[in-house]
């Protein structure tokens, strides 16, 4: 390890160290509020370190690769690190009420250090360019979440923890199996070397054994990652885990964890499997999975009464839309990688949309202990600000103009038509109509129903300035990025230069 490695790894190193410091501090008699602020500051510093690597403010690393080519810090990984860190920052900042509540105040130290460790795992994951590193960082990101899910030792929490643990172990095993196939066929674990070795194989004629082996390994790898990405048919855990999880953790899972899985699968497929014949094969797999995922997610969400379960199904549906971008490899003479750009734009917009919703839901559930949608009746009379944040978020999830959700859907569907999947766009738009039904139902309860017999009125919802602040900022960004989308699109364009 040399100086360059240290520079490239600076955000990760900083975050791991601060995770340990925060754990130790929480054992001493330091005020809880200070620790929370400290954790927020360390997240901001690591975001700045990531920005530093992108813009080169303080120092320019001599090379983007380090650790014997198993780790890279290119713009693509920095983009996703930024998303992951920002999602965590907003979630932790907005959940202040939750952390100081009776339930959590006694083990905030464990809570925050575990989240930080998981973030480090995800950051390593989006940077890794080698199969073993991918696997190890995947485990690092998943294991702390198991503890976090059951940290309250409630029945539902433990159930969701165990569910997540077993399924995550199972999917890791499948993933490893796929990696083994790949290693056996190509003789390397480095993604670039794998690509070279595949490009030398003749996949069209004769060598059916190798071609079939590659397809098997692709299928197994997709299956392994689909667990993290919430792709049908590996989505079963989502609603249960979301329902049982502490709400901030559900928010964290829905954005940070999902983005990291998408990032690594984009990197893996667009470097190792970027052979043109192979691309057509896996893009079709992705297209079919996307169609199934969004349809199933939306259909199951239609009849949900529990808001957290509903949001769980909604993340499944959203994963389907994001997957369209992965499937959208433009055909024709020039293969460029615009589809991923759509996915990245979608993920970034989804961050603000979903986390603003989750922050408000966290506060409501904390006060009322009521997770039903009916519990939101007449919420606009109880708290107009929170309601507007929620409604803007939900409209963005529907894909109503002028929100970011609309623009990302337009871009994603545009790419899917461009790459020869008009049917996928058609399924996508019909799905968004289906989704409108259940999102509008929530809006109906918030805005139109009278606040009768509900606990919201009596619970005197605390005005939490921090939550309102981030919620409003998120809502403004949701609208702003929808009206002027090119800032993000430019960023994502710079980010996909890894190929």
């Amino acid at each position: 390890m040399n100086l360059n490695d240290l520079k490239l790894l600076s955000p990760e190193i900083f975050l791991s160290v601060s995770s340990i410091i925060l754990l130790v501090l929480s054992l001493s008699k330091v005020d809880l509020k200070k620790i929370i602020n400290l954790s927020i500051i360390s997240l901001i510093i690591s975001i700045l370190l990531v920005c530093n690597l992108w813009f080169g403010w303080l120092f320019e690393p001599s090379s983007k690769n380090s650790l014997l080519g198993s780790f890279t810090s290119d713009n693509f990984s920095l983009f996703f690190k930024f998303i992951i860190l920002l999602a965590s920052l907003i979630t932790i900042f907005g959940s202040f009420q939750y952390f100081v509540s009776e339930k959590t105040r006694n083990y905030f130290g464990e809570f925050i250090s575990l989240i930080f460790l998981s973030i480090v795992g995800m950051m390593l994951l989006v940077s890794s360019t080698e199969l073993i590193t991918i696997y190890v960082s995947l485990e690092l990101s998943a294991l702390p979440i198991i503890v976090l899910l059951s940290i309250h030792r409630s029945k539902l929490g433990i159930e969701s923890g165990i569910k997540f643990f077993i399924l995550s172990a199972f999917s890791s095993a499948i993933l490893l199996y796929g990696f083994i196939y790949l290693y056996g066929l190509t003789g390397s674990t480095n993604l670039l070397l794998i690509q070279e070795s595949i490009s030398k194989m003749s996949l069209t004629e004769g060598s059916t054994f190798i071609a079939h082996g590659l397809i098997i390994s692709i299928v197994l790898i997709i299956a392994g990652f689909s667990f993290k990405m919430a792709i049908v048919p590996w989505q079963m855990w989502i609603p249960d885990v979301y329902q049982g999880a502490p709400t901030p953790i559900a928010a964290f899972l829905s954005v940070a964890s999902k983005s990291s899985a998408f990032a690594v699968i984009i990197r893996l497929f667009y470097t190792s499997f970027s052979n043109e014949d192979l691309m057509l094969d896996w893009s079709l797999i992705f297209a079919v999975l996307a169609a199934i995922t969004m349809t199933i997610g939306n259909l199951f969400a239609l009849n949900q009464k529990n808001i957290k379960r509903l949001l769980g199904y909604s993340t499944i549906a959203q994963a389907g839309y994001i997957l369209i971008g992965l499937a959208a490899i433009p055909d024709g003479n020039s293969i460029n990688f615009s589809g991923i750009q759509g996915s990245m734009y979608y993920l970034a917009g989804y961050l603000f949309t979903n986390i603003s919703i989750f922050i408000v839901i966290t506060i409501i559930i904390l006060r009322t202990k009521d997770q039903t949608i009916e519990g939101l009746s007449g919420f606009i009379k109880v708290s107009p600000v929170y309601s507007i944040i929620l409604v803007v978020g939900l409209l963005s999830l529907i894909g109503m103009p002028p929100t970011v959700g609309f623009m990302s859907k337009v871009i994603i569907f545009g790419f899917s038509i461009n790459s020869g999947y008009p049917w996928l766009a058609l399924i996508g738009v019909i799905n968004s109509v289906l989704a409108a039904f259940y999102y509008l139902r929530i809006i109906r309860f918030i805005v139109f129903e009278e606040p009768s017999k509900n606990k919201l009125v009596q619970s005197n919802l605390l005005r939490d300035n921090r939550a309102i602040l981030v919620g409003v900022i998120c809502s403004i960004l949701v609208l702003l990025l929808g009206i002027i989308p090119f800032i993000l699109l430019d960023m994502s364009k710079k980010a996909i230069n890894f190929i």
């Binding site: 615009s338 337009v410 871009i411 008009p422």
Partner: protein, 514 residues
């Protein structure tokens, strides 16, 4: 290029909605401020209509920012402008926007939110008629759903949640299909632009020119179908009409006026601008080939809507169903595209465009009168009413005017547009036209029968229509005459002197047909 007046007109209502949101608290000041805004918007739209230069034709008052979304794969620009087709519709929106706020003076529930949503609605409707970029058009087309959903759900009567949800889901479905169609056109390598018209002065070559004979990613017939379904839902045309009666019946008066008056016209506008404008000579498909189907659907809409209307017992529902029948005439006029004689098809499409304007004013007036009657009688059930003539003569007179215009009495505006449509389509699709003409007979039936039952005869006995309410009924106040006259003047004006509209419309339609 930036003229400004059009952008100001679009965004003025939204800006004033924001001002109301943050600065105004008092209910009355909100009402006056909203009316003040829509009054200015009305004057601006009138000015734009009058200033439209009929000598030079084409697109005028253009505001153009080329790089709204300067992204490689989605190059969209902010471009608005009016031509002969959209100028009357802009005027119509201005009139009805003003009328709808004037008619909302007696709304007492959540006044602030109500006016905010109404103003946002007016803005988005304006946007639809003047956007010349497909994505911009689509954004306004979809965005109008949010205020409509809120307005019907919160301030509606009957089953508002059900009706609002039905309305939104139907329109979203159409919009979803339209999005696929828009992207399919845009993503085709030969087209690659989202600007829906060609403007020689700005060196803009739009989709109508680029799409000619070019290769599309998706068959042109399929794209046409997607657009057609989207607009047929919005028009609404049989068999996709079932959202309309519910939405109308449950919406508050001002929203019904907007819905029937201008929102339905978005569909007619889209049919002419996009379905006819784009698909005249695309590869392997022209709109001429399918115009017979359009005429059949139109004839079914007219007659089916008319027959169902006769059976209605709710005043508002009756007017709502009559809209299906009358918007069927618009589609019939559109089907006049299927002839080699360009004069005939221009006349038919002129008729369709004129019918949109006349129907907007006539039905707006009818809904306004139904609203006024309902406010006084507290029931819209026709058999429970009767003998109102003596109590509310002014309302009755204007109710008659709207009814007679709607059934096509000469000298009133409905007659002009209907006769234009019939004369041109008769030479092309005689059978469909003859069948549709029965729609006029049916209209005479249901309109006269309704007027007779509501206003004439004797008052029903006390247990059906209580004497107490009947005795308290008073006629409209003088201030209410303002919205009424705003709608009545165009009805007479178009009926007596149609050429002030048809001249401009003709310029627009000639620009679209090639």
């Amino acid at each position: 290029m930036f003229d400004g007046i059009l952008s100001i007109t679009i965004f003025l209502p939204v800006i004033s909605a924001v001002i109301i949101l943050f600065f105004l608290k008092n209910n009355n000041s909100i009402r006056y401020f909203a009316n003040f805004t829509t009054g200015i918007v009305f004057i601006l739209s009138l000015l734009m209509f009058l200033n439209y230069d009929t000598e030079s034709s084409g697109f005028q008052m253009i505001d153009f920012f080329e790089a709204w979304i300067p992204f490689d794969y989605l190059r969209s620009s902010y471009i608005v402008g009016i031509d002969g087709l959209s100028a009357p519709l802009v005027l119509l929106t201005g009139i009805l926007g003003f009328v709808s706020t004037l008619a909302s003076f007696r709304v007492e529930k959540r006044v602030k939110e109500y006016h905010i949503w109404l103003l946002v609605l007016i803005s988005s409707v304006f946007g639809v008629f003047v956007s010349l970029d497909l994505l911009l058009f689509f954004i306004f087309f979809e965005f109008e759903l949010i205020p409509m959903y809120m307005l019907i759900s919160i301030w509606g009567s009957g089953r508002p949640n059900y009706s609002a949800m039905k309305f939104v889901l139907f329109t979203l479905f159409g919009g979803a299909l339209m999005l696929v169609a828009i992207l399919s056109i845009y993503m085709s390598a030969d087209v690659g632009t989202l600007i829906m018209v060609s403007i020689p002065e700005l060196n803009i070559v739009g989709i109508p020119d680029l799409i000619q004979y070019s290769d599309l990613l998706v068959p042109a017939s399929f794209i046409f179908l997607l657009f057609f379904i989207a607009f047929a839902i919005k028009l609404p045309s049989w068999p996709l009409h079932s959202w309309l009666p519910d939405a109308h019946t449950d919406a508050p008066t001002a929203v019904s006026v907007m819905l029937a008056g201008v929102l339905l016209k978005m569909a007619g506008y889209g049919l002419i601008r996009i379905n006819i404008g784009f698909f005249q000579n695309t590869k392997g498909f022209t709109v001429y080939d399918v115009s017979i189907f359009i005429s059949i659907i139109a004839a079914i809409s007219v007659v089916y809507g008319g027959i169902i209307t006769v059976r209605q017992t709710d005043m508002k529902r009756l007017i709502a169903f009559s809209s299906i029948s009358h918007m069927g005439f618009v589609m019939l006029g559109v089907s006049a595209i299927g002839t080699s004689s360009s004069n005939t098809s221009i006349a038919g499409i002129n008729g369709a465009a004129l019918q949109m304007f006349t129907h907007g004013t006539i039905t707006g007036l009818a809904f306004l009168m139904v609203g006024y009657t309902y406010e006084r009688t507290h029931t819209r059930h026709i058999p429970h009413l009767g003998g109102l003539w003596h109590k509310i003569p002014l309302i009755a007179v204007f109710f008659f005017i709207s009814g007679f215009a709607s059934l096509g009495l000469p000298m009133l505006s409905g007659f002009v547009s209907e006769i234009m449509i019939f004369l041109s389509t008769f030479t092309i699709w005689p059978i469909a036209t003859i069948i549709s003409a029965f729609g006029v007979v049916l209209a005479a039936g249901y309109i006269l029968w309704m007027i007779q039952r509501i206003f004439f005869g004797v008052k029903p006995p006390d247990e059906i229509f209580s004497d107490e309410i009947y005795n308290q009924i008073e006629d409209v106040k003088k201030i209410d005459l303002l919205p009424i006259l705003l709608l009545t003047i165009p009805v007479f004006l178009v009926g007596i002197w149609p050429s002030f509209l048809t001249e401009i419309i003709n310029l627009g339609v000639e620009g679209i047909l090639r």
